[in-house]
Symmetry: D2
Subunit: 300 residues, 4 copies
Amino acid sequence: MMKVGFIGLGVMGKPMAGHLVDAGHELIVYNRTSAKAQELIAKGATGAASTGEVGQVSDVVITMLPDSPDVEAVLFEDGGLISTLKPGSLLIDCSTISPEAAAAIGGQLAATGIQFVDAPVSGGEIGAVSGKLAIMMGGEVEAVTRAEEVLNAFAGAMAHVGPVGSGQLVKAANQMLVAGNIAIVGEALSLLQRTEVDIDSALGVLNGGLAASRVLEVKAPKMLERDFAPGFRLDLHYKDLRIALAAAEHAKIAVPLTGIITQLVQALRSAGDGGEDHSALIKAIERLSGAATPVKEGAL
Amino acid sequence: MMKVGFIGLGVMGKPMAGHLVDAGHELIVYNRTSAKAQELIAKGATGAASTGEVGQVSDVVITMLPDSPDVEAVLFEDGGLISTLKPGSLLIDCSTISPEAAAAIGGQLAATGIQFVDAPVSGGEIGAVSGKLAIMMGGEVEAVTRAEEVLNAFAGAMAHVGPVGSGQLVKAANQMLVAGNIAIVGEALSLLQRTEVDIDSALGVLNGGLAASRVLEVKAPKMLERDFAPGFRLDLHYKDLRIALAAAEHAKIAVPLTGIITQLVQALRSAGDGGEDHSALIKAIERLSGAATPVKEGAL
Amino acid sequence: MMKVGFIGLGVMGKPMAGHLVDAGHELIVYNRTSAKAQELIAKGATGAASTGEVGQVSDVVITMLPDSPDVEAVLFEDGGLISTLKPGSLLIDCSTISPEAAAAIGGQLAATGIQFVDAPVSGGEIGAVSGKLAIMMGGEVEAVTRAEEVLNAFAGAMAHVGPVGSGQLVKAANQMLVAGNIAIVGEALSLLQRTEVDIDSALGVLNGGLAASRVLEVKAPKMLERDFAPGFRLDLHYKDLRIALAAAEHAKIAVPLTGIITQLVQALRSAGDGGEDHSALIKAIERLSGAATPVKEGAL
Amino acid sequence: MMKVGFIGLGVMGKPMAGHLVDAGHELIVYNRTSAKAQELIAKGATGAASTGEVGQVSDVVITMLPDSPDVEAVLFEDGGLISTLKPGSLLIDCSTISPEAAAAIGGQLAATGIQFVDAPVSGGEIGAVSGKLAIMMGGEVEAVTRAEEVLNAFAGAMAHVGPVGSGQLVKAANQMLVAGNIAIVGEALSLLQRTEVDIDSALGVLNGGLAASRVLEVKAPKMLERDFAPGFRLDLHYKDLRIALAAAEHAKIAVPLTGIITQLVQALRSAGDGGEDHSALIKAIERLSGAATPVKEGAL
């Protein structure tokens, strides 16, 4: 068992940290809003007064923060992690940030003898609570092997996908795929809902062939019930799509569908729906045609 | 067992008809190119000299033809099926045609006392040969129940999805979903291939989460190997997307992604690749950026 | 002066025919709804009882009809034009139809010794009334020269743009350009209207540079005043964009922007706005973001 | 006449500054690469050793820099303009930066009693050399009136379009319109070039109607001659489109066409063509269809 520091106890971070205690690790936690740490302290974790203090006493530190600037602040601000982490220690960043930012962080840490793994997760709050997240890891083999021992506490699946930054690239691809699948399911359902088709029967047979997807299986029923409680908020998906667009620019490939899907997500945010689940994307398709509510129009 | 007529012995139709013989039905077959019937006749089927003759001797007739005009010709030309089919007989059209055409055919047949079921299939040549097609049926309950007894010979999954024309609507939705999923997988892979990511590991973890789809599972490996042997040809998928666009127009809903994806498919056809598998759509993304061959550019 | 037949006295055709009388031509008119011919007969034209009769007595016949099937019916139905037009006579089709249909008609007429020019017009009802239409002519030099003598009566500009069908191809390009310019003006205005920018001042300076266009000059003010009285109806523009998409397919070039703009036009039609002027396209952009009415949001 | 400082003597800035000398202003210039100042000093301008020095001796300072960070550095770095500009002086920023950045700068300057006008220009190097730029000004009336006296030296057209930041918003709209018009001209020409249409005749008639635009007039001939020497580089247009996308996000309106056009520009940059004129956008359309060179395919 290891001394593990954890910084960022949000909706995802708190249950992830909880699994580390359950797995028997000696846990040191820090959160800007210290109240969020109480539950974990009650479970046996130690609270730290600053991010620097977390670095001082940990062998491995996990960060789970909203965006690149947050991770950079925790690391590089006065008295931040980089000034207290010991050479030979390991930083695992589970945040979703840009691949370029991850690569830059990895480079700066390497210069001071600190190992770095970017390890963004997929699976949402449900996956964090159940300890079944999919984790995409980028880094040196030795560092990734070490990271796996810790991340194992809340992983459903883990893969070492390449050098530092690769985890973020695969996460970016993941978010493109999910948004694309949601958008096209939105178009297909918008069509079927305006016909006399029995949609439940249709979904059954669609999921039996090449059109099958986890999105069609999990999200289509919620779209039909107009249940858009998150899940995963459109505001966050928008952030992730911007990361994907920047990664594509960097890799020198244009992604026209991702470009337009990002605008569909932006349309929902413009309409004040950024806090809804990403499956609410179907509303952009409907609104475009001036049809807020699906109405059976009898297309036959 | 029934007297079943079968018209249209192409790549799909021939194995479908074969399963009917295997299932013990008395089969009468007709194909414009009569040579294609020989194999089935050798298996025990009877050859007919005209479509009219098929109608005369069958209780149930199945058509499996390229497009609406072909189905209409077989039915309504001089001496066509409609002039010989007996009241009370059943026509099952397994072709992929427009929902409007299917509804019109159903209406005309009903006026002469002939039952009609539109029953387009999904699963391609592999599904036809293995007898595991997914079949989407539109029609009256009684007619659909009767159709199931016959279609059962080559069905992996069957669903009654609504009144006449509904089978075609669900098939249109199916083709939108498949094209959309292929297109976004094309963008995601084009990105990852231009980075240092280990793509096999990446596909593993992507297929473990919300990004999972049958397309990602089945088509992504072929895209990576540049194996674009059909499978399902882009020329046919283009035809189906035009049916979907027309169906959306009819149902009064705009489908912007389907509009642009149809142009991507059209780009492949323009480049002379219409005979390749629809997974070749990834080439449109690559060509747009002037990158015919994926090259590792080291995005990190 | 010539004996000129005119078939199709709609919103465009009636004023066009009127200019021919004014120019001194001996005019024979036919319209399915014969009442529409009365005004022209009062002006000195002769009414014909059938399209065949028009062909019998004319040297030159002009058709101005809604779509390809209408032109084909007038020509090829029992007793239609092709059975009465004399060898050496000239048919000028001013309708907007597909280039392929125009080429096919030209071929059939050539086989019977009749000259053909496709001569679609641009400029709308205003241009027809003022006799200042832009006319794009496809055909043999001799036929086009002859056509110019007649069309001169209502032309602001004329150009011989290539062989038969070329007029329709240029008209298709014209409709792509107009729709594209309207759509991007719709996006730019939607943005500016949600800021503190003084839009009248902005339009002045935008029209002074590379962003200048006839659409920005003529249509932007109407968009701002929400004056969507046609002008040119979205339903007709949709028809023309479908012709353009088919022409691009035939010429083996994909047109992704036209593909998506066609869906934006379709969205307006779906919402019941197909009878409004094409400048109403701005409403699709606004509706997508859930913003039916532009509201100053103070973007600064 | 006034004491005018000028910072940023690039391709645009140098000729703009030259016009100020010609107009009789007392000019103080600064450029990071001081060699660029020599020509102006030879013309009678005074060279400054730092941006701070420019602020110290000027009543009005003009900045003409590549992007927001450059403007912010010149203003806010140690010893930057803000520390030396006197209360009551005026800063005019002619750079194209984000409206939000402009508004933030305006706010900070106002707090120290310095007037600010954002005044991005349109017209490119040609307009700068000829002194005929279109200038979009945002700011308080008094400041804008004062700015006009100076900018008059190189303005073809000037407009006060709203409060601080409005100039940048109108410039963003300008760049959306130009890119949109270029993109749709690219599609229309790509189509016509693959037919037997005589394109010169076609351009004549297209420019005579509602399809007319400055882009069609000025850029289409260059596209046909494959003359893509800038003019205005795609790399810069990409930067400006990203500003426009961010402005639209801020104003709460989705802009789907701008989203996809930005990806087309990105495709050119990915292919290594970012240094070409923005009219090279036509190459993205051609490449998508696998057609690097336009070939007459005889579409009729």
